[in-house]
């Protein structure tokens, strides 16, 4: 009992701060990854050979850029993007410094997830909307994004959890903080296994919660049976 109390006294503040930093970095970069990723996914769907505006060259070039973005290991991307972080948010360090590389790393991945979700929307619905005189923009907003919403929400929880893992790397490498940073600093560098185990346990719980929220939200908004 006493041991636990002592542990809480000593590390509660550190771990709370870590939870907060992790959630902020993951949440904010997930948000910005979608700001970039939704247009990418929409463009991929619209210009595909079976899309509303087939454009082979554009589609292939964009697909190639997306694949390239996804194939660069995150740890390399992180270092490559240090100058861009400094330019955009004024620093390459800390929580805000980590958000730029996290966003850029996730955007192509999100683009593919969005493409996948929108491809599931039945062609017949797009055609019905066209037959009522919908413009391409209206079809994107009122058919693709609306009908694909449950699937898009599932994608958001996948992205959040994927970025959760990246945040640990970014935190450790650029001193951005977060639970991964704590686990590595205390566990590997100071041999305080207990702190590492608790930090990892909190990570596991947070991921489970993120998945559950995503699943139940997707279920609740889905009006299909």
């Amino acid at each position: 009992m006493e041991v636990i109390q002592a542990f809480i006294d000593q590390y509660a503040l550190l771990l709370t701060r870590g939870i907060w930093d992790t959630i902020v970095m993951t949440g904010v970069s997930t948000f910005f990854a979608y700001v970039l990723g939704i247009p990418i996914g929409v463009a991929l769907v619209l210009t595909s050979p079976v899309g509303l505006h087939p454009h082979r060259i554009f589609h292939e070039i964009l697909g190639w850029i997306v694949n390239m973005g996804r194939s660069i290991p995150f740890i390399i991307l992180l270092v490559l993007l240090l100058p861009l972080s400094r330019l955009l948010v004024g620093t390459a360090m800390g929580v805000s410094g980590a958000i730029v590389p996290l966003t850029i790393a996730a955007a192509p991945f999100v683009g593919r997830l969005v493409e996948q979700s929108l491809s599931e929307v039945k062609g017949g619905l797009v055609e019905a909307a066209q037959s009522f005189g919908a413009s391409t923009l209206q079809i994107v907003l009122k058919v693709f994004l609306k009908e694909g919403l449950p699937s898009l929400v599932r994608g958001v929880s996948i992205t959040f959890i994927t970025l959760f893992g990246y945040v640990a790397i970014a935190g450790a490498l650029t001193g951005a903080g977060g639970l991964g940073d704590i686990a590595i600093r205390y566990g590997f560098q100071r041999f305080q296994g207990d702190v590492m185990i608790v930090a990892v346990a909190i990570c596991i719980v947070l991921v489970q919660i993120a998945q559950s929220i995503g699943d139940s939200l997707a279920r609740r908004i889905d009006k299909r049976k």
Binding site: K122, G124, L125, E127, A128, A129, Q130, S131, F132, G133, A134, S135, Q138, K142, V143, K146, E147, L149, P150, I221, D222, K223, R224, K225
Partner: protein
């Protein structure tokens, strides 16, 4: 009046496929016009050319004296919104309520919310689904879904309605009631209807005139009763012979046969 002049549609791909070959038809206002043919005959392509979901390779579509074939952008969207369309698989938006589906065409035109909903409720009453406005398509039967689709197609006060195998996914009784509804809409609202079907009994039940299409060509057209009584082309005779409809022509229950036939799929 809808005038289709020398319409040809070629799908270019690995091999060129002539879906339509020099098709000419004239459809008068207020008619229910059937386009009959086996699957793959080109009837779906033909009707999709009318609202330019499919671009004709050559030929003209002239509606009330206006050549619409070259319409693009805003003009095209406005033209399409003046034509209602219903589909074999209903094509209702699954994430929208019944009311949301019917207001969809009006949303596209930025109509005011109250106006949209008032119009949608009026139409739901017309198709007998007033109590379902808050339901979602997945909670409705096939027949109810097609009624919602009909209400949606009528939202913009169209003068023309295209029906692409509208009863083919429905059972006997339901198909007959949908056909009855379409006929009433034609009579009461004066909407010109183009009905695509592979089922001769559907054509016989609702169409004033029919055109028989085979391999992308119109092989015969005329008043429904005349074509049925005195088919000129071998294709029409074959369709008549093969159709289970023969029993209907001999006086069996029309509704039952209509459904039996349309239950067979496209």
């Amino acid at each position: 009046m809808i005038e289709i002049r020398h319409l040809t549609k070629v799908f270019s791909g690995t091999s060129e496929h002539h879906a339509l070959h020099d098709v000419s038809l004239t459809i008068q206002d207020g008619e229910i016009f059937g386009i009959i043919g086996a699957s793959g005959a080109g009837k779906s392509t033909l009707v999709r050319c009318i609202n330019l979901l499919e671009r004709p390779t050559s030929g003209r579509i002239i509606i009330d004296g206006v050549d619409v074939t070259g319409f693009k952008g805003r003009q095209l969207h406005e033209f399409r919104s003046s034509i209602g369309m219903i589909f074999q698989d209903f094509s209702l938006f699954q994430q929208r309520s019944v009311l949301g589906n019917v207001t969809f065409p009006l949303e596209l035109r930025h109509d005011k919310r109250e106006h949209r909903q008032a119009r949608a409720r009026e139409l739901l009453e017309l198709v007998g689904l007033t109590d379902k406005e808050k339901s979602f398509p997945s909670q409705l039967s096939g027949g109810q879904q097609q009624r919602v689709a009909i209400a949606r197609a009528l939202a913009n006060h169209p003068k023309i309605m295209l029906c692409d195998e509208a009863t083919s996914a429905l059972d006997t009784r339901t198909a007959a009631s949908i056909l009855g509804l379409l006929k009433n809409i034609n009579k009461d609202l004066g909407v010109t209807m183009i009905v695509i079907t592979h089922s001769l009994s559907v054509a016989e039940k609702v169409c004033d005139k029919i055109a028989v299409i085979d391999e992308g060509k119109i092989v015969e057209q005329g008043l429904t009763a005349e074509v049925f009584a005195n088919p000129q082309s071998p294709i029409t005779r074959e369709l008549l012979k093969n159709d289970k409809l023969s029993s209907v022509l001999n006086g069996a229950d029309l509704d039952e046969a209509a459904g039996e036939l349309s239950g067979g799929g496209a």
